[in-house]
Amino acid sequence: MSSSKDSPKSGLSRRDFLRAGGAAATSVTGLAGATLETQAQPGQPPASHIPVLGPGPAKISLNVNGREMSTAVEPRVTLLDALRNYLDVTGCKRVCDRGTCGACTVMLEGKPVYSCSMLAVEAQGKAIRTAESLVDGGKLDPVPEKFVQFDAQQCGFCTPGFVVAMRAVLDRNPKATPEDVEQGLQGNICRCGTYEQMRDAIYSLCNRPRRS
């Protein structure tokens, strides 16, 4: 495959970007949190005061596991990176970073989402729940407890995503069947392949005997 022979590529390369990024970020910080006055279009009400953030770091507030936490992030920072690198909430893991593997799963208003594929600024005003919420004063929630009991992890890196996705299914339907729970885990991958032990944990959570 030939590449970029036809004409110069538009935009910045990663290297140019890294070089220029620091300067750009500081020079535009003053814009953060401003509103934009736009001109009225003919025949339309004026579209004024549209909130705008960035491109420099903007102050944001996130509700994480019932706690209001604030930090300043550029608009491009994903919810995953904001949680892990800005707020030190490291339960959610960065693996594929492309909305495929499920290691970054958090609950947003009770629904599981990929935190790698959402901007932190978009999560403002919404209740975020991470794997950290599944332990209370040293006592494990039944989902991770069953993971321990049935040895449902090997390296364990995917586990926070799995337990959050599983908790979301059971919160929504406490009488979920093992099939319902498995449906709810379609967006998670375990590369160690501990699915059989996870199935044991799921059947136990659903109070069903598992036939081998």
Binding site: M1, S7, Q41, P75, G102
Partner: protein, 333 residues
């Protein structure tokens, strides 16, 4: 990801006022599941991102006697779980509910599904300067093309249409409500998709200052179903997809006004005219459905690596017709 300014308008009018007369510098943000991937690969490098997440109007679903209107901001999960949509349009609910996994369906929106960029690996590779960037060659034509078009429809880019909702909406005769500075208009879904063939072109026929507001689907009592072939049961893209609709056609009754639309086989959803003629005014049996499936491959010109898709087209059309007719899905037994 290149950094950008983030705008959060509260109305469609405000969103429209931020758009420009070319694609690229300003992008609309729905669920972000496609846009952020493209940004992370530096394939998309907008300086401004306009979020549609703060616009309440895009979240409505209205079920009226003659038509159903679904806001473009509704998530795929909320569409697949909506009781009335499930009852009226099982093809739509099934297609929406089979996309990727639950996390992605809780984020991805209807409007985003229709406007997403194609999945060609050459297009999505930062270092591959293909036809849709500033290059002049479609690398898939002579390259790795096993997931590409078998009906190229004269397009120079042979990537397949990425939307699995699109073919279903064509089968259901839907229209797309679009808004720009001049006002609102309805675009018939059959005219919505367009094959991109150069830098600055998209997989749809809308302009860069248009916003998809909603999708309208007429309520016509159509029997409808959707079937897709994937390599994995979940979290995967379909390889071939068939959406079908018709009047009657259940319990041995004859099917009329048949529509059969294929996805993932051509640069835009492919209306399988020969298959439609083959099953029109027939009762749906395994034999007639299989004949329609064979007819659906008429005119196909597979590339070097994707002739296998022809067999999958036969299977998808046959099973979608049988599902719609109420037959027992023997392939699940």
């Amino acid at each position: 990801m290149k950094n950008f300014s983030y705008y959060r308008p509260a109305t469609v009018e405000q969103a429209v006022s931020l758009l420009e007369n070319r694609f690229g510098n300003t992008e609309l943000l729905g669920g972000g599941t496609d846009l952020h991937d493209l940004q992370k690969e530096y394939v998309s490098q907008p300086a401004r991102v306009v979020s549609l997440g703060g616009i309440a109007q895009l979240q409505t679903v209205q079920v009226a006697e003659k038509s159903v209107t679904i806001g473009a901001g509704r998530t795929l999960a909320s569409i697949s779980e909506h009781p009335q949509l499930r009852q009226l349009f099982p093809a739509l609910a099934t297609a929406a509910g089979e996309i990727a996994g639950p996390q992605l369906r809780n984020m991805a929106t209807l409007g985003g599904n229709l406007c997403q960029r194609n999945r060609c690996w050459y297009f999505r590779d930062e270092h591959s300067n293909c036809l849709l960037k500033s290059g002049s060659t479609c690398f898939a034509l002579d390259g790795e093309n096993k997931y590409h078009s078998v009906f190229t429809q004269g397009s120079r880019c042979v990537a397949v249409t990425p939307s699995t909702i699109g073919p279903v909406l064509i089968a259901l005769g839907a229209s797309v409500e679009v808004q720009n500075a001049a006002g609102k208009r309805l675009v018939e879904i059959g005219r919505f998709f367009k094959a991109p063939n150069a830098n600055g072109e998209r997989e749809h026929a809308l302009a860069s200052n248009d916003v998809v507001v909603a999708v309208q689907i007429p309520v016509q009592g159509l029997t409808n179903a959707h079937y897709e072939v994937r390599q994995k049961l979940s979290s995967d893209w379909p390889i071939v997809q068939a959406a079908v609709s018709f009047q009657g056609g259940r319990n041995g009754e004859k099917a009329t006004d048949v529509k059969i639309v294929l996805g993932q086989v051509a640069p835009v959803p492919h209306v399988a005219q020969a298959a439609m003629r083959a099953i029109e005014n027939q009762s749906i049996t395994e034999q007639t459905a299989a004949a329609a499936g064979q007819a659906a491959t008429q005119g196909a010109k597979p590339l070097s690596q994707n002739a296998y898709k022809l067999k999958l087209i036969e299977v998808a059309v046959k099973r979608a017709l049988l599902l719609a007719s109420g037959a027992r899905p023997y392939w699940l037994a």
